[in-house]
């Protein structure tokens, strides 16, 4: 995975530093989750997934149905900066999205 120079510069260098003491773990990818809500139209959610991520109609529809039936779906993943931008774009479209570390 590509790691931004800024984040590398602030990453803990010594191996003996306990990793759970720091916020910066550049090797851990982030996931972006879209949550179900009662307002957004199913057709609109498919449109947004296709427009923002370039997903096929099939993939966008499957993700939308996961959101609808399971309550949430992971729609993208990657470095923290990418996840932050994806959350921004989803919020701009009115979708309820959050990001978290992939576990």
């Amino acid at each position: 995975m590509a790691v931004g120079a800024m984040r590398l510069a602030t990453a803990p260098a010594p191996v003996d530093t306990p990793t759970d003491e720091t916020d910066v773990r550049p090797d851990v990818p982030w996931i972006v989750i879209v949550w179900n809500d009662p307002i957004n139209l199913m057709s609109y959610v498919v449109y947004v997934f296709q427009k923002l991520f370039g997903y096929s109609r099939e993939k966008a529809t499957k993700l939308m149905l996961d959101v609808h039936h399971l309550g949430k779906a992971v729609v993208s993943e990657g470095a923290r900066e990418k996840a932050e931008v994806d959350v921004y774009r989803l919020h701009a479209c009115g979708l309820w999205a959050t990001m978290q570390r992939a576990t």
Binding site: D23, I33, N36, P38, I39, N40, L41, S43, Y44, Y47, E84, V87, Y88, H91, A92, C93, G94, W96, A97, T98, M99, Q100, R101
Partner: protein, 172 residues
């Protein structure tokens, strides 16, 4: 009675032609003014569920509060500006449109369609949150008091959803 054959339809040049009744045009013209206070509200200092719905948290983990604060500081104003720009676009398109007999007619390119979808959706998010709508809500307006402001708010919410769905079908 105003007769019209379409609300949205795609023409041969790939544009979306729109034909609103005067009432619908008036409703859409009012959206910017209705939403502006919510979009301009300072995000951190409010418990308003509409503001929280339009500007949700980015980080699922509450212990990421510093990253969350950074994200909000960087993104919130842009999000608000983008939304206001879409609502302004809608209002300007209607104001500049051709007037028919009881109708307002114009066409939208790709950018216009995106702005309209955004404005319709933001209005539905705001109104739906105010009305506390649920997924399995009974949307039948029959039997409701037509003079009740709540009935009118539901009618607007349903119309906005209907229009958004039709626009999405038109561009699909």
């Amino acid at each position: 009675v105003t007769l019209r054959r379409y609300l949205f339809r795609r023409n041969r040049r790939g544009k979306v032609e729109v034909c609103l009744t005067d009432d619908e045009a008036a409703l859409l013209l009012s959206l910017r003014g209705e939403l502006e206070p919510v979009l301009n509200a300072p995000p951190a200092a409010t418990d308003d569920p509409v503001v929280r719905r339009l500007f949700p948290v980015a980080y699922a983990d509450p212990t990421e509060e510093d990253a969350e604060a950074d994200w909000q500081r960087l993104m919130h104003d842009d999000l608000a500006r983008q939304r206001l720009a879409a609502l302004t676009d809608v209002a300007q398109t209607i104001a500049a449109a051709r007037r028919g007999k009881g109708t307002v007619e114009f066409e939208l390119g790709d950018d216009g369609v995106a702005a309209w979808l955004s404005a319709l959706n933001d209005a539905r998010l705001a109104l739906g949150t105010r009305l506390d709508v649920t997924e399995d809500m009974d949307y039948d307006l029959e039997g409701r008091d037509p003079d009740d402001p709540l009935t009118q708010a539901y009618a607007v919410y349903l119309w906005l959803g209907w229009a958004q769905e039709l626009l999405l079908e038109t561009i699909a």
